[in-house]
Symmetry: C2
Subunit: 301 residues, 2 copies
């Protein structure tokens, strides 16, 4: 099934204990797209400024990413993020952020994308997420993300969005903030009460939890020794997860559980290098091998 | 196979967001023993002071715990610990600790215990752990624990102990301190390099990692909604893990992986109530059901 993603494209500067990357291609929609194109072509809806390097556009076109929905807005500047990872590298510290074009009007969905069957609404204003959703011709699977800013300041709007989507993917801090509940198992069940058929809580290096009407399914992260830069791990998780769902065309519990493995493995490749260094050259066969390896690690006889 | 444990017995006072327990039975050897007696009888080697309540002794004798190695030392006081859990309750804050009798000479191993085939040396001075081990008639499986104090101040002695044991069980912070490595997968591999055939790193609510010469095996914690008091969860993990190994009598990778499930489930019952509230009445059948449930949660088809 066709897969549309809307989210940020940014110019990132990242420092980790293993080095530094200056002004590299980043953003939720970018990490998502690279993970998802391993499964299906991706339709990208995003906006950048006139400073967006042509070389970055070339990186995107090197994969099956349809850029008909990528707006290069004159007079605007691209979103920029500078972050730092220290210690166990499980959480980024934002050193500097410039919303730039992300603080302006959202990009439009091109007519050719309106029939998209699978949609991922990466973290933007929940009203913009709903606007985007209402333009589409009834996607079969729609999933959204969110963040602390909208949870705190746009709660009612976010609740409306949650009533419309098939699923929600958030991290542990967001799940706790959204539900006012410390225990993540209780939080996940409450997320289902807000409307979605399924909820995923990402816990970084500690894995992820899937909640459906059939129950809760925890999985650990893939055991990675070679963690150089965690930037984009969560977005890659979403990309691998949604890419797999779009390819198999359904979201029953069994498919969702397999999608969790693909999301986990997508993240495990992303963290092995700065920016898209590793995910640009990983093959589907390498992904499938790692999914099989993780499946075996979790199969107790 | 017979299972001997040596470790602390304490009088605990614990505060969590769900309530408070004053002067209740606690200590590593106690939580360990209650989890392990679900599988095999336990031989306990520990020392308490003359203030140790008879009612606490009765709690221990209510299960198959052989108290021939429990010394009630005249003129001494029992170990006391006061702790607090807040927020996500993943880490205890020690409010007050009185070593009391634990700061004196260690207890002796009674002659009837010298033929023990499986041994768990819970966190004591690494030299005391080695002394205990040398008294026994060649146990088949010996596993030790440790803590920040010994890792920092008795490193050489601890390394000698690690060369003698079959396995080591530590938490994430201890694994990092012991290896000087932040990445837990690398840390676990380094633990094997210190001598043991297997290593377990416990991560509290985030599960645990098993390392053997066959590879690394991560498992998540059992998804628990009802977390009232995490005290003793790690010791219960060790008890369920070692109890299972003692019952099956071997420690190949397949057995160790199943033991991880039993440890995880033992911990999941302990945290459901204060002190031994839940583990005193849990049945082996309830444990096996939860192991089956977790096994199913992790089996991806």
């Amino acid at each position: 099934m066709s897969l549309l993603v809307t989210g940020s494209i940014g110019i990132d500067t990242v420092v980790t204990p293993h080095g530094q990357a200056d002004e590299v291609l980043g953003g939720t929609a970018v990490y998502f797209s690279f993970a998802a194109t391993q499964y299906v072509p991706v339709r990208l809806v995003a906006v950048v400024g006139e400073d967006f390097p042509a070389a970055f556009r070339d990186i995107l076109t090197s994969r099956e990413i349809d850029l008909a929905g990528l707006e290069l807005r004159k007079g605007s500047q691209t979103f920029r993020w500078t972050g730092k990872f220290t210690g166990d590298m499980n959480e980024a510290e934002t050193v500097d952020v410039k919303l730039n074009v992300l603080g302006e009007a959202p990009p439009s969905v091109p007519p050719a994308f309106l029939d998209s069957q699978t949609v991922f609404l990466a973290n933007t204003h929940p009203t913009a997420q709903r606007d985007m959703l209402s333009q589409l011709h009834g996607p079969k699977i729609s999933v959204c993300d969110s963040m602390n800013l909208w949870i705190a300041n746009e709660r009612d709007s976010l609740m409306k969005t949650l009533r419309l989507v098939t699923g929600v993917i958030v991290n542990d801090a967001e799940a706790r903030q959204l539900t006012g509940t410390v225990n993540l198992i209780t939080a996940g069940e409450q997320l289902l009460g807000f409307g979605p058929q399924f909820a995923v809580i990402k816990k970084g290096e500690h894995g992820a939890l899937l909640f459906t009407s059939d129950g809760v399914y925890p999985i650990p992260a893939f055991p990675s020794k070679d963690v150089r830069d965690p930037t984009g791990a969560g977005d890659s998780f979403a990309g691998g997860f949604m890419g797999y769902l779009a390819q198999c065309g359904q979201c029953d519990t069994a498919s969702l559980r397999r999608a969790m493995m693909h999301g986990t493995v997508a993240a495990s490749f992303t963290i092995e290098d700065f920016s898209l260094g590793r995910v640009r050259n990983v093959t589907r066969s390498e992904i499938d091998q790692r999914v099989d390896l993780l499946t075996g690690m979790l199969r107790i006889e």
